[in-house]
Amino acid sequence: MKNDHHRKERDATLFHAISAYQRTTIANELACIFSRYFYSVNGSYKILISPSKMIEASVIASPILGILYYLLHAIVCLAHIWSYLIYQIQCLIISSGLLPKYQNLKLDRLQHLAVVIDSEEAKNKSKVHQLLLWLSDVGVKYVILYDIEGVMKKSNKAFQKSTATQSDTKCLDFDLNVPSIFDVFGMTVEVISYTDGKEAVAKAANYLFSKFSTNQEGTLDGLEPKFTEPDISSALKAVGHDGPEPDLLLVYGPARCHLGFPAWRMRYTEIVHMGRLSSMKFSAIVKVFYDFSKKHQNYGK
């Protein structure tokens, strides 16, 4: 009996001790979090610990913050869905032909159009073919097709190789490191990839270096290379990587990102995200061209 009483007392003490410890741990955690806030509340901008570290330190807060994170994204997603629905209605109205302003597009300002396509989507040749047909219907004269991995370049080169005769094979350029240019549907189509961007600028730099070395008599020491932007453009032309600057660039993919399109060629290019190639619409292209025709650029002024 006495032993039972001692055991109960001991268990109660232990229980209280554990509870106290747990309470202390929980209290410490909460104090840890709130002390950060209270420190900040004193008007100081001192950041002792970034919010992400706070989350790592907190076992209780993480699941709650995680739930709130997904909830916040769900709310914003609803707003995106609403905008998407409005956009789809606009495209529907445009394709119905009810609005005359979309019927006669003025494409005087659109001399060159670029299209960046995600490489996975670029494998869908029928979609790319359909897109080129639509662009030709609208009246585009010069299209630059770009995908980062060169999928379109490879398929175009393969097509050229398969249809070339014996004599053509020797003189046609099947090098995948240079742009591929051909005519189709009454348009000039230039197909480029990632190697036509930064690597092309490196080739131009080597070309300028060799020209700089050749032009100087005697030693190069003490001579400073000085180039202008037209010099770089000429060098890019000399190494086979020149090309017009597109006025408008359409991005077909999950994100509005140019994925390495040649930097030298898009100083003032309007970049528009069109969504995925698989869900492309002719009316969306018409809308973009109409919006582009209304654009006004100051060019820094």
Binding site: P51, Y69, L72, P225, C257, L259
Partner: protein, 275 residues
């Protein structure tokens, strides 16, 4: 007594909103946070024209002054969220085409703000911000150039977040400068210039590429800004004018980035693997 009451209330409101802001950032930090954000602050002049009833509405730089306040608050949000680098496009080489009075006003404003930042205890000592000034600095007037150099020298050893201000900058000019520097480094070596050599000589060498480039006022072009560095950058163009860019637009911007982060990282990884 009344004044004391009012200031208590405003202080309380300010503390509560600060706490809520921190809480919101804690929620966002569950997902990926960009390490580097770049800003094209477009729309200051349009804002000044739209709000002609501003106190100093006749001052041509009034829109830019309001824009500067927006910039300071945005930079604060970035650093509170844990971002390492913020880059701003303050003045392009093309902006020299503006009227001489406006250019002079902008230059004076930039000098004034650079001097102000150097006396800002929060920025320098508490945040330990390092300031970079990128661009063709020979083109800007000497007082501004000296102020820029002083800002860089004073903060050179700071280890905190990095604020890079692009002045008299254009991407094509930066690439030209990198080619010249690479040729200077290479001569006598007999080696070929590679992409790495060019990247080592860009103004942005040592800085991670931007994760987001935000251009306000709904404009869709980059206007010769960070063209080389933006291969896998999420380009955003909210409709708000720059002085209207608030916490709400900032949070939405980060959330939009979080949705595409995995895709951009995947694309970046594939290119790195193929190099």
């Amino acid at each position: 007594m009344e004044k004391y009451g009012k200031s208590m209330v405003s202080r309380t409101i300010s503390h509560v909103s600060f706490l809520m802001c921190k809480f919101l950032f804690s929620i966002l930090c569950v997902g990926p946070i960009p390490a580097h954000i770049a800003l094209i602050m477009d729309g200051n002049r349009r804002f000044a024209k739209r709000h002609v009833l501003l106190e100093d509405g006749t001052d041509p730089a009034s829109g830019h002054r309001v824009g500067f306040k927006s910039l300071m608050s945005t930079i604060q949000y970035c650093y509170e969220m844990g971002m390492k680098c913020v880059t701003v496009y303050a003045f392009s080489t093309d902006n020299f085409k503006r009227g001489p009075e406006e250019v002079e006003l902008l230059m004076n404003l930039m000098k004034e703000k650079l001097d102000e930042v150097l006396t800002d205890e929060n920025m320098l000592k508490k945040l330990d911000v390092k300031i970079n000034i990128w661009g063709h600095l020979e083109l800007i007037p000497e007082p501004v150039r000296l102020a820029a150099k002083k800002a860089m020298d004073v903060t050179m050893h700071n280890k905190g977040p990095v604020l890079s201000v692009c002045m008299a900058y254009s991407s094509t000019n930066e690439i030209t400068h990198a080619i010249e520097a690479s040729i200077r480094d290479t001569r006598g070596n007999g080696t070929q210039i590679g992409v790495c050599d060019l990247e080592r000589n860009l103004f942005t060498a040592g800085c991670v590429d931007p994760d987001i480039i935000i251009r306000t006022s709904g404009e869709t072009r980059l206007s010769n800004f960070l063209l080389w560095q933006s291969d896998f950058t999420h380009l955003q163009n909210p409709n708000a004018l720059w002085p209207e860019f608030s916490l709400r637009q900032f949070v939405l911007s980060v959330m939009d980035y979080q949705l595409v982060h995995a895709y951009l990282q995947k694309k970046k990884g594939e290119i790195e693997k193929n190099k």
